[in-house]
Amino acid sequence: MKRYFQIILGFAFAMLVPRLSLAVPAAAGPATKPSAEGIEYFEKNIRPVLVERCYRCHSKDAEKVKGGLLVDTREGLLKGGENGVVIVPGNPDKSRLITAIRYHDEEIRMPPKEPLAEQQIAHFEEWVRMGAPDPRTAAMVAKPAPPPYDYAKAREFWAFQPVRDAQVPVVSDQHWAINDLDRFILAKLEAKGLKPVGSADRVVLIRRATFDLTGLPPTPEEVEAFLTDTSPTAWEKVVDRLLASPHYGEQWGRHWLDLARYADTSGCNSDYPVPSAYKYRNYVIKSFNADKPYDEFLKEQIAGDLLPRPEKTEDKWDGIIATGYLAEARRFGSRAAEFHLTIEDTIDNVGKTMLGLSVSCARCHDHKFDPIPTSDYYALYGIFKSTKYAFPGTEIYKHTKDFVPLVDGEEAESLRKYEKELTEIDDQMERLVQERTPLLVREKQRELKEVCAVFPVARHQRVSHKDDPGLPEPGQRSLLQVKADMAELRERQLRLEFKPMTVEKAYAAQEGAPGDAKIQRKGDPQNQAETVRRGFLTILGGQKLAQDCKGSGRLELANWIADPKNPLTARVMANRIWQYHFGRGIVQTPNDFGSRGKAPTHPELLDWLASRLVEGGWSIKSMHKLIMMSRTYQLACDDEPTNSAVDYDNDYLWRFNRRRLSAEEIRDAMLFMSAELDESPSGPHPFPPETEWKYTQHKPFVANYDSHRRGIYLMQQRIKKQPFLEVFDGADTNATTAVRAMSTTPIQALFVMNDPFAHEMAEKFAIRVGLAVVEEDKRIEYAYRLAYGRMPTSEERQMGHEYLKECKEKMKEAGLPWDQQTKAALASYSRMILGSNEFFFLE
């Protein structure tokens, strides 16, 4: 802003002074003002190039100013560097800056790595010819930029307002509401003239609740028990039973893993496996099952290693494992050079998942819509830069590093030593490869030269000794020497690889070298500006690390995020819990509570829920209970045209939202139906041993490990999606997934029609049904009870009999032996039951 203001001033000023002819060189004196055209030319053609290509070494923010030359002010540019003047206004041929960028002179070539484009060079020549007009003054550069946002005004935005424990509204209908939550909903319905539909029947309810809390369908026995329970607490008993199920953590843990973009591989171009990532996955499941207070859950994931160790032996390492959340940040490219992107992924995820804010937009520029300046981004950046992330290996550095041992004392030390030694070998090897490349080229040329020596005609000139590419330059080692070193290193490496470490370790984070970060202009790590103190977002309090803080700042950050006074944390989580129950949040953009997100449909209810969450000691299970006991949760899915006409999308919840089962739910339910589900929790995946990893971007790690365990335990990669999850809109393993997409595609239909898994499950289901009862009518009935939780109607029974009869006939025609026809017909019938909309959708 300020800069543009100055430019406008410059324009205005130029109007007042006599215009300079473009051909006349402008004197360098401060009294002379450049012309408007000159400034425009400078701004358009010169300044951007200076900023992008020269400032890194020639500005006051340069880490080390090269040659004493500063080109970020007019004064600096005109003064020149250690070797004198670089610009002679009006005379490009006498300006050393022009000589340098022309790249003709071997002695001075700038920028050193890559020349400017022809056109840019021409612009500079023209600009010097014009007299090098330049509106910049030293004072202007030195002044700090004014705060870009009006925070007082920004705080008026609803999401940044403190959570207010709203008053429960008064409603006209005194009978409808079961709890206060309902009163919030009803008040809105009444205000909009909407009338809620009736309650869902018990079969629908128990199916809804069971999938909702466990990701599995209810068994016929569970349905039966609920249907026959006439006590007033029948429903509550169902909810309590489901909340206590170990499958609860698998379902709700999956929601969290969606947000945390969990994967079992690193995401670098070779997609290195991370065999210990599953520990974080299991920690999440366990935390949900234990109803770990949400604030504690967050704090552990940011800084669990810095919190006091849990007392129970089996939880001893949970704090460390929890920081797997940070280690899960995506890895990029082959080298550590792109680590700023891993930090960006961390900030992006912390921002969206925990705070519902797109903080990472501020990486390259101040956030355009929300009050998040770039300086806030780099205040957070410093914290993660001061953190050491476990390194899973990449194409060039194939060995793991900085994994956190889950043992104490000597054993832990041995792991560190082992990793360190392998890392050093990787580093040395890489240096030797670099050293070898020119030597190989030289070798090749020497061979060529020998050919030339045999046919001297091909030689046009004598080659001096210095020119002879066959001999190493002074101080340079020979190819043989380098090769020998490599062989020796390789042997040391093999020796280590031969004795792999068996120490338990975690893909986790730990304290690194603490230090503040510099702002990176346009998100370019090479283009650094001022240092910012590590701290929190200004709009959320702007706390900074104490001057005597010795750590990374993660512990402080964890406390700032989980602070009940933080207006976002409780709201964002209350909204998510609501969203997973109702299919849609009160804020329908659950990862974006900023001004580009959607405003809450029930702002008072959201605050009321957030208050209950904090008040209940951040218990998530209490929130489920509160929601599920409401009338609102128990509504039917029925359509009601008069309501649809006003509120087609059901924003005000006059009915329950129908939803398709998620990928994992479809798979797990099919396994469950056919009694094939392995309900035990899962440990590590069968990855190849670490010492055998040779993955490169040319031959990346790609695998698929099938099992009959719950879908949450499937191995998930970043470079390639798990095939089943891909077809049914599984979570994105590369970025936080707040809402699962729900697509309908012919590929999904082909799955039901032709996939071996669908056929296998249907066959097992048919066997289960066939073995349980013999009479065909009972078989039809049992299939309906298992799959839909209800009895078939007489029309449906009739339909089933006809189908089985006719299908058996067709099976015979198709050449199936007589003893398989009945089973095949029942399997065919079963697959259509499992593939039907009634099975795929939840009411």
């Binding site: 484009a117 490349t437 990862n591 974006d592 129908r658 012919p746 067709k810 039907s836 909309n837």
Partner: protein, 459 residues
């Protein structure tokens, strides 16, 4: 054309189900109802922002980084100076002489090397760009860059954007098909729909027994499968009676018809028995063979002929590709695999009058250095490389942009990958700044925040 034929067969399928009394009365009309209802079907054909010059795209991507100065960008000075011990490149490495001589082709005389003798004969239809520039010098990132516009984060592929923007004409085939015998760098992210709806994802079709996963009927006979679909339809319609207004339920009912259609249509596309010997010769394809780029190109023609919107062809995968670090001779067999097939495709499309509204794109993730890397090879080079366009709305027989005398950098009319994408979308009738999708609080587009249409190459 194929489109009508396939729709007819689908209708026939529905009628035959009805005749066999498997379908309930009354459903027939509903099934035959207009397929173009956009609210139910995100793949229904849609009009772009303005009248398009091209209606479909065949996107050929050569994996590994094709050397421009050995193929489409002649550098006499590089021929002359390479091998001189005095002249060195700016980074000190010796220049490497290109292995293939350049000759003019067609009447326009655009020079192409002996690496692509057949494509050289087609230069009058080709708009060659010698000033391409990308953002990254590593395969993984640059491959994502040329496909999605982003070298860092996972984003939708260009084919997914086109599918999202235009929908597709033939509902029995996917809108975006990928013919890639091996996985490229970055795997299936290359054709991923990412945050766009899943139906816009590229469907990988392979030669062989099962071209798409689950495409082959597993039920023991056609009769059994038809019965099954009839039963499913009854289940779903009985269920829907209670919820008549839910478009998602009807969409899923419809998806089974489409799947059934695809099960018939895809093998028909891949069945080359009715192609004449002359046509097979054009592509350099032996009868009965499904190997090599000739097969990919011929199948691509058959796919676009039947209304598929975007066909991507990847010649190799993430290894044994154009990444000739140690020896440029490796380019030889790779070019031989694609050269005749590409020329055959261009000629075939032209003779069928399809080149006019089909855009053919040839590209790679980056070029290679003028100087050596390994003894006789070249390294990655994203500062400049060559690509070309042909057909739908581009000027044939021209060269756009220039690299310097050694092929080291762009000196005229730089075409950044974003510009390249903007131009392709423009030819399809889109303003690239307006083809957006709201995701995570912001409107995303293929060209991120840049991209200029290269007007000079528009016909």
């Amino acid at each position: 054309m194929g489109v009508e034929r396939n729709q007819f067969s689908r209708r026939q399928m529905i009628r035959s189900l009805a005749a066999g009394s498997i379908l309930m009365p009354g459903i027939l009309q509903q099934l035959l109802a207009d397929e173009s209802r956009g609210d139910v079907n995100p793949l229904a054909p849609r009009a772009p922002h303005y009248a398009p010059r091209a209606k479909r795209v065949i996107f050929m991507y050569m994996s590994g980084g094709v050397s421009h100065m050995d193929s489409f960008d002649p550098k006499p000075k590089l021929f002359a100076d390479a091998g001189s011990s005095r002249i060195k490149s700016p980074n000190g490495r010796p220049y490497l002489r290109p292995l293939w001589e350049f000759k003019p082709g067609g009447t326009c005389g655009t020079e192409v090397s002996d690496l692509f003798p057949n494509v050289r004969q087609c230069v009058d239809d080709i708009c060659l760009i010698r000033s391409m520039k990308g953002d990254h010098n590593d395969h993984f990132q640059a491959t994502l860059g040329i496909h999605t516009g982003s070298v860092t984060f996972a984003r939708p592929s260009i084919g997914s954007w086109v599918s999202y923007g235009l929908g597709t004409v033939n509902q029995n085939l996917p809108s975006f098909v990928v013919l890639a015998p091996q996985l490229p760098y970055a795997g299936s992210q290359v054709w991923s729909a990412d945050f766009l709806p899943g139906c816009h994802q590229g469907t990988r079709v392979l030669a062989g027994a099962e071209p798409i996963p689950d495409l082959n009927r597993r039920s023991p006979s056609q009769a059994v499968q038809e019965m099954e679909l009839g039963l499913l339809d009854r289940f779903n319609h009985m269920h829907q009676r209670k919820h008549p207004a839910d478009p998602v339920l009807s969409a899923r009912i419809k998806s089974f018809e489409t799947a059934f259609g695809m099960q018939q249509a895809m093998p028909e596309v891949l069945d080359l028995t009715h192609e004449s010997d002359a046509t097979l010769d054009l592509y350099g394809l032996e009868r009965g063979s499904s190997k090599g780029f000739g097969w990919q190109c011929l199948v691509a023609r058959r796919l676009v002929e039947r209304g598929v919107r975007f066909v991507e062809l990847i010649d190799t995968g993430s290894n044994n590709n154009w990444d000739s670090h140690s020896d440029m001779k490796q380019h030889g067999p790779l070019a031989k695999n694609v050269d005749m097939a590409i020329a055959g495709l261009l000629r075939d499309l032209k003779s069928r009058g399809m080149l006019e509204d089909t855009l053919v794109v040839w590209t790679t993730e980056f070029g290679r250095t003028p100087f050596t890397d390994g003894p006789n090879g070249r390294s990655h080079h994203n500062s400049v490389f060559s690509s070309w366009l042909a057909g739908g709305g581009v000027k044939g027989g021209i060269v756009h942009g220039k690299s310097d005398e050694y092929g080291g950098r762009v000196i005229e009319n730089e075409v950044h990958v974003h510009d390249f994408h903007a131009t392709i979308l423009h030819l399809l009738g889109f303003d690239h700044e307006r083809l957006t999708f709201r995701h995570a609080g912001r409107d995303f587009r293929l060209t991120d925040v840049s991209g200029n249409v290269v007007k000079a190459i528009l016909a």
